[in-house]
Symmetry: D3
Subunit: 238 residues, 6 copies
């Protein structure tokens, strides 16, 4: 029934490759099927002005898409002179999601920027970015501890994200582009390893959706994130 | 327990005043306690280029905040030269929410722009804007039918929105600013009169939240929207 | 003869309502007939860099128009990414006019920003803004004295403004939009309570105008401002 | 008494040199003492979209200042990414002033752009620009008639402009920078050859000014413009 | 003597991998040692307005660098709101270089955009981009011929580029970052397969350079490009 | 053969007039035939943030073109809100060229900005700008020494620039616009008085060019610059 012949609760093949950038303190190339996002974690020993002197650090994210990451070429945001509303919405979500599992005081007065650049898009770029960003961030924090910069681990939990949707009236896990573009409803769940909810975004696209549908989406997301948490631990060797 | 002495499931006093702008085809000044949003619905007989000739219309929204709508003066977005990510995120949500209850083909090749300007903010401006925007839109569509421009009513349902959150570990309805700024979790629900879900946004602010908390937030929102639907019908005299 | 049946020297009904914003140090909703401008006076205890350490304060103004303040919807300046030349010209005029009646040394090293937002426009928005801004500013300065922040009153005089024009070859006071859009000449006078001139702007729109016409416009403005000064004093209870 | 030893009603040496640009349809290098403005009149056979098909033409102006036109280097507006409020205010004034003496229907469906670039500034750049722009425009229109593009002369009158101000309590004509920066009041008058008023802008800088002072400024401006009209006629050989 | 222990006339390991993007008509991941640039060739069946109806096509390029492509994180150009002068200079060079080997009439009324995104930078990104862009372009044109869109091959020649510089007073081929940042002179040569020169850019960085040094740089570039031409032919299977 | 009847190695008449701006520390109006560029050198006793406290100064350049410097009016960059890629490329070249002959440590912690504004363009504006900028800079540095601000001369050499091209298959010196717009190849050489090369930019416009052609262009440039060096020395009275 699904264009990819997956069962409703089946993820696409997911890979999380670390050490893909020679300069970044942490990095991860995350693939969910044909969706590929390159995440780098950059540590800088200074903070934005509004955070200085408060005895804590900051984690923030930026998101971008290469112009030909998609079926038809999109306009380069650097050329059009501004980031779209969609881009800003996504990077705000990524930043919030990662901060939910970091003890900013333990991080100290430094900033980690998670650059999430979509090399190729086939649905689910924001959830892939969050899932990969945790790996890049964990790698960077491991590096800082190895270097003796950090004494303790500021990471308090794992965080991963997955999209679900109602496609041809059936709730399914991990929408690809073909499903996403004709789904009746679309949702993104950001969950922690310890089982709490960081963020839920659910939108009726073609029609409103029911409470029963929502509950099923939630259950699918819960199962999908369990798999992602295992892959994340494996990627960073824990 | 709540700073306003409200019970957990109690809305602030809500008013929806129509006819507040002499030029707009529809308008509504919506108040949720001290939060006041002026919404105008402007009908234009032309469409953005990408929608022309498709036999349908469009409903879109813009959102703004007067500089001193808040405790301390914020920078005027027109002066800073761009709309913030928050502004864009909110106006995209308002547009999506209203389009969910409009038959765009029945609207014909015209556009309705819902301008939501926050005169005073005390929490919940986006949900107040959606709730008031439905009233302004319904008024404008009534006007178009009275003028004979529209033969049928493109409105397919009511839509309203409300925020809920976990404040001091208790789920509560309709957060004011004081609650919002220290809530553990924050959510916005956009629901239709016929009971389906248009959009859910739920975010853990200070900590992740549990499934049980989420279910309670959902129940509060459901109850709150029932009250809002009745007030909307009353405001437009149906 | 005038579309509104007013006599040539007759103002529209003018109201100046104070205390209309719960956060601002001073505020005024000013109406000249159907023209409505919301003015807030915001006091901030810091100055722009070029003024710091000079032992004086600053008064500045910003002006904006809600998109549907006018007959047809105008583009939102925050969305178009810049303020128009007209907007900048008006806000510079408002700032200059108010500074003319403030002793900036007596104000101390703080800044008052007068935000003038046009809720509905029917001609004369800039002169209404100036007239209302004086009331908002006076309220804010009264508040600062009550709070003990200021020992003396930095206000040295009243200031008010009114438009006049040549409409169908007759000089008339306080143009509404219908008159303004077909007037042969258009002028704005900013005068002080003690009788001196702060600013005159007079423009031939359809034709040049004569010295005799100008003198008559001046006399009308003088009379109109006398009424406005009385209303201002009444509004702030002096 | 004046820093330049001029009498109160004495202009600086004024020159109007035509034919200073080999490409422009008309051009004029205007000097008022050390103030030097290069004006070019460019004729284009197309109109801005909002004017097309209305059977008339348009005259518009742009104004700029070379970065080192002033005592200390100013920031290049092209580098800062926007034109200042002052620049926009001035170019709007120049455009309005020239349109006041052009029959736009007789001009036909074409646009004349008057570029006024300040090579060196010593006060009075906007009035010098208007005075020189008339010469450049007249030259361009003469050229169009010689070429047979225009059958009749769209110019209906002369227009010139001059600044006056109250300097050390004395009304004086044609302020230079030293006077301008310490004047109590400052004004610009735009007058036509036939004696009517196109625009008056008068501002109290250090204090308000009186009606008697204003009348004296007006008289000075009237005399100064008479001289400018004669120089303009001489410059274009009429 | 070289930090990388290469001989003066030795290239870094160069790879040209095609088919790296599933959507683009042509693509190439080019590596010069640690410098990695992803190039996609996007074919669009419309032209910029100024080229329409002239019976020819267009080839253009855009260039970008991921924020952490470099040792320290650079600011994202989409976030800063404009492309730097350096970026614009490079993308203009890439476009010119590729157009030099395309018969634009044979291309027909379509545009090919070459997006060159630097994944990792270690010197020589612009020359790597040109070299890889030729491969991506050739692949896209091959694809258009296979699809029957093009009857003839618009490619008239190969083009490749390489940097050379004077490092510690010795002319060397293919500078890496460490050499580039301390070189006395730096140059880029763009040459065609048939031996003609498309572009030379040579700059004295720490000192001017002599004619003899320039001649040696030229000879090195000539040799390096011979190798690149062979690798290009191999990459596209010719 | 050349449109201007010049021999292949003949410069246009070149003039370098100093002292053309009453405020700038140094200035030069440079003409190459009908190409006219006004250069001012502005000395400021502060540096950009990234250069402070390093015990050295900075020399930078900005470039602009008046809208009607060209055959048809170009858009004003200040109005379009950004500098074109061409403008940025040129001003970066001018800055690099002049820094090549300045001892930045001897300059001390101050900045010289060379504003190069094209009054009229007929080909070769960037090379005229460099040639004139050296004169303006030398004048400013002479002034600083006369004032006692500088003890030694930071100028280490002369620098001049000239364009050459292949026009109708013949290498020629100093292209005017008519030649430039149809040349097969175009190049700019920036050379020092002592015979070293600062910058070479050579581009095939209609076709690639050969090594023999390049060598001839180089020889022409060498001869042309000798003349320019003599004119520069004469202009500053050395």
């Amino acid at each position: 029934m699904r264009p990819s012949d997956r069962s409703p609760d089946q993820l696409r093949p997911v890979t999380l490759e670390t050490g893909v950038n020679r300069y970044a303190e942490g990095s991860c190339l995350v693939s969910f099927g044909q969706t590929k996002v390159l995440v780098t974690a950059s540590v800088e020993e200074h903070l934005p002005p509004w955070l200085r002197g408060k005895g804590q650090g900051w984690v923030t994210a930026e998101y971008g898409m290469l112009p030909r990451a998609t079926h038809t070429r999109g306009r380069r945001e650097a050329a059009s002179g501004k980031q779209s509303g969609r881009t800003q919405e996504i990077q705000r979500l990524i930043g919030r999601s990662l901060r939910a599992v970091v003890d900013l005081k333990a991080l100290g007065e430094r900033q980690v920027t998670l650059d999430c650049d979509v090399i190729q898009a086939d649905g689910g770029t924001r959830t892939a970015a969050i899932t990969g960003a945790w790996v890049a961030l964990a790698s960077a924090l491991d590096y800082l501890r190895e270097e003796g910069v950090l004494k303790t681990d500021p990471l308090t939990d794992q965080v991963a994200a997955i999209s679900c949707g109602v496609f041809k009236d059936t709730p399914v896990l991990d929408l690809d582009y073909e499903e996403d573009s004709s789904a009746e409803a679309d949702s993104n769940f950001v969950l922690t390893g310890s089982g709490s909810i960081v963020e839920i975004q659910a939108t009726g696209e073609k029609r409103g959706f029911s409470r029963a549908e929502f509950d099923r989406l939630f259950a699918l997301a819960h199962g999908g994130c369990e798999t992602l948490f295992a892959l994340q631990r494996q990627a960073i060797g824990r």
